[in-house]
């Protein structure tokens, strides 16, 4: 009995000292897809996050930032589970989450049940996350999948002369959003999208999908990522595929361009669009690439940061700068921080970023083409830079709302 009460007192004092200590710290929970199909994407996202900490430091006024990282597998329930664990078990005050499209929609909805906390989106890019019923405490400093395709449709139609294309994409919200952006612009310019194939996330054997690709098109658009993209390319090469390719933002990305094996060579010359271009000459981008390269030994990173690293970097940067503006003041349900985050404009490596009224990023987009650097490494070369891309893609909001939400069949291939 005595022993028990001594133990309790000891435990109690430990907890007390714990809370006293915690006042000096701000706890931030981070999630990334460190399992499953998108493992490589999650790992590079975390590299971008660490690069940001190396550059900006962890101090906010006299407080120190403490980070807890949790793993997800790109499914919405894994993301909600991870976020819930971070909040309930690790008692984090701010979330930097999540990475993938479906996760983003789920975490945004979950954010509404914790209005006192602040959620900064790490990298997810489904349109619905911030466009439909946005959560006032959810901030997204990267563009969505449709914004990341701006410029590609016109470039394919006008410069490359493609008239008819078919698409293959993973069957979930981010790729719907990407195809949405592509189809709007390509069909708006006069092109035709004859066929849209959707494959489950995590498909390994694409042989039948490849066989079902139409022959009578000028190019095939690939909206795949991670292991799916590598498997597709490998089997596409084995099947002797020779069509022109176009790529989505996580297809033409260092996560794929620096995979092992030679299947990726099928991508040389592929046109794509994304929130970044590997060879952009902007000094801010070049500095970020160097910071990234200096932060990790060459065998523990890609030759150049992936889109995920850039997004995690930008989100972490926005969060730290926002916290510094309010000097780490999280009182009154973090009201000051939320205010600062909504107004902040950041000089991200991939161009200036500010938020709209839905707390969704307005930023710069890049049309790119894949080139071989002569030593066997592939990079995306910038073809066109398009600043100030907003979520309605330059459409009048009323017109944009009529198009409908991205899905397997929306938008129709016509001029809106």
């Amino acid at each position: 009995m005595l022993k028990g009460s001594v133990g309790l007192i000891a435990l109690g004092s430990l907890l007390l000292s714990g809370t006293a200590f915690a006042q000096e710290k701000i706890k931030v929970g981070v999630t990334a897809t460190l399992e499953g199909t998108y493992t490589v994407l999650g790992e590079d996202g975390i590299r971008g996050f660490q690069t940001a900490l190396n550059v900006l430091g962890k101090k906010v006024g006299d407080k120190e930032l403490e980070f807890v990282i949790a793993s997800t597998d790109a499914t919405p329930d894994s993301a909600v589970r991870a976020v819930r664990k971070l909040i309930e078990q690790d008692k984090v005050q701010i979330l930097l989450s999540p990475l993938s499209g479906d996760e983003g929609i789920a975490v945004k909805n979950f954010a509404k049940t914790h209005p006192e906390l602040t959620f900064v989106n790490a990298a997810s890019g489904a349109q619905e996350t911030t466009y439909v019923d946005p959560s006032p405490n959810f901030f997204r400093y990267n563009m969505d999948g449709a914004q990341w395709q701006v410029g590609l449709g016109k470039y394919a139609y006008e410069t490359k002369g493609y008239r008819k294309i078919a698409t293959v994409g993973e069957d979930y919200s981010f790729i719907y959003t990407q195809v949405f952006g592509l189809v709007l612009e390509f069909c708006g310019a006069g092109g035709q999208v004859t066929n849209r194939q959707w494959v489950p996330l995590g498909t390994k054997d694409f042989a039948s999908v490849i066989a079902a690709l139409p022959d009578d098109v000028d190019a095939i658009y690939l909206g795949l990522g991670g292991a799916d993209a590598v498997n597709f390319l490998n089997q596409y090469q084995q099947a002797g595929g020779k069509a022109h390719l176009m790529g989505g933002s996580i297809m033409i990305d260092q996560t794929i361009l620096s995979s092992k094996g030679n299947a990726k060579n099928a991508l040389i010359g592929t046109i794509a669009a994304s929130g970044q271009a590997d060879t952009w000459e902007d000094p801010g981008w070049q500095k970020f690439v160097k910071d990234y390269q200096d932060s990790f030994p060459p065998n523990k990173r890609f030759p150049s940061p992936s889109l995920l690293a850039t997004n995690y970097y930008g989100s972490t940067m926005a969060l730290i700068l926002g916290l510094r503006q309010v000097n780490g003041d999280l009182s009154n349900n973090q009201a000051k921080l939320k205010d600062a985050l909504a107004k902040i404009e950041i000089d991200a490596p991939n161009g200036k970023i500010k938020l709209d009224s839905n707390r969704q990023a307005i930023g710069t987009n890049f049309v790119t083409e894949v080139v071989d650097d002569g030593k066997g490494a592939l990079f995306s070369k910038v073809v066109k830079v398009i600043p100030n891309v907003n979520q309605t893609l330059g459409y009048d909001p009323a017109v944009f709302a009529k198009i409908g939400l991205p899905s397997r069949t929306v938008p129709e291939c016509k001029k809106y």
């Binding site: 493992t39 042989a207 079902a212 590598v230 089997q235 099947a239 002797g240």
Partner: protein
């Protein structure tokens, strides 16, 4: 065969008609009406061939799994890890020496040795305790997965296909006739055909070894009643080690195959564990012909599903498993 026809005349008729329809679909030139209704013949033929070749890969993984279960009643849930480990070994060897064939041999030996080690160090200590063994294998699979993640990282690895296997070959199957009357033959990736032939050869060799050799006789006897077998003076522990080594080695070979026509990355271990579980449940736990039949059924279901009902493709395999469990819980080709 004749007994089956005598006992189930209706079923036999249905099977014969189904086979005839399938043969017609494969060899005939499709009339335009059919092409309009279900799509091009090229797509259909590709899906069938892909299903069968994918079945070849599933068979390689599942045969080892079912062999180990059949003899030792050990549900080895670390079988997926053996698959992935074999793949990584194959990748390392093929990049180091440039030889694709050598990577198979080394992967087989390497993973077989790991199997021997597992059997001697772990499973022998808990013989006959099914639940405990199963739990331990789950634990081991998690440990292996983390170790491999540590060494190889989360990257995607592909075993380099040798240059003589890259690209398609024409098959003597007509997919369409051009307006000039010239037939169009099906083009199919050579590497998949080679891998399929190899898995058939391995399957037949295993069947022969089990049914025509002394060792095979001992193994079959062990499957039926290992206590009596041990009592007759056979060194049963040695047989266990051999079978475990063979089963693990097959998983290793399958890893190289999987790394060649798909890719290797963390998570592949559980995927192939799940696939081989489904395959052996459908085919019948412990039966090699069952594993072959199950593998082809699951391969075909996945591929035909991904072409004709893409939205529900994932469900089809599990639906088949549910049906088998409901109608014939011991599996299609199980003996009891």
């Amino acid at each position: 065969m004749t007994r089956f026809i005598e006992r189930h005349p209706v079923w036999a008729l249905i099977v014969i008609i189904a086979v005839a329809v399938l043969l017609w679909l494969v060899f005939a030139i499709w009339p335009p009406g059919l092409e309009a209704a279900v799509g091009r013949k090229r797509v259909f033929l590709n899906a069938i061939l892909n299903g069968i070749t994918l079945g070849g890969l599933y068979f390689l993984v599942a045969s080892g799994f079912t062999l180990i279960f059949g003899l030792m009643r050990n549900v080895n849930l670390a079988h997926g890890s053996l698959y992935l480990f074999g793949g990584y070994i194959g990748y390392a060897i093929s990049t180091w020496t440039g030889s694709w064939i050598l990577s198979f041999i080394v992967a087989f030996i390497g993973v077989a040795l790991l199997g021997v080690l597992l059997q001697i160090v772990v499973f022998r200590r808990m013989e006959g305790q099914d639940l405990r063994q199963t739990m331990v294998t789950i634990g081991l699979s998690i440990v292996f997965a983390d170790l491999m993640l540590w060494v190889f990282g989360g990257d995607f690895y592909q075993v380099q296909t040798p240059s003589w296997l890259i690209g398609p070959v024409p098959l003597p199957l007509i997919t369409a006739v051009k307006s000039s009357g010239e037939p169009v033959y099906l083009q199919y990736p050579l590497v998949r055909l080679v891998i399929f032939v190899a898995s058939v050869v391995i399957g037949i060799a295993m069947w022969l070894a089990l049914n025509r050799t002394r060792i095979g006789m001992i193994v079959r006897a062990g499957v039926d009643d290992r206590d009596i077998l041990a009592a007759t003076g056979v060194r049963i522990q040695l047989v266990f080690v051999l079978v475990f080594a063979l089963g693990a080695g097959l998983a290793g070979i399958a890893g190289v195959v999987g790394g060649t026509f798909q890719s290797l990355s963390p998570g592949e271990d559980t995927r192939f564990l799940l696939a081989s579980l489904v395959v052996v449940i459908v085919g019948g736990m412990g039966s090699i012909p069952g594993a072959a039949l199950g593998a082809v059924i699951i391969g075909l279901a996945e591929q035909l599903g991904s072409v004709y009902i893409p939205t529900y493709a994932i469900v089809v395999t599990f639906l088949i498993m549910v049906l088998v469990l409901a109608l014939r819980p011991q599996g299609l080709l199980a003996r009891r």
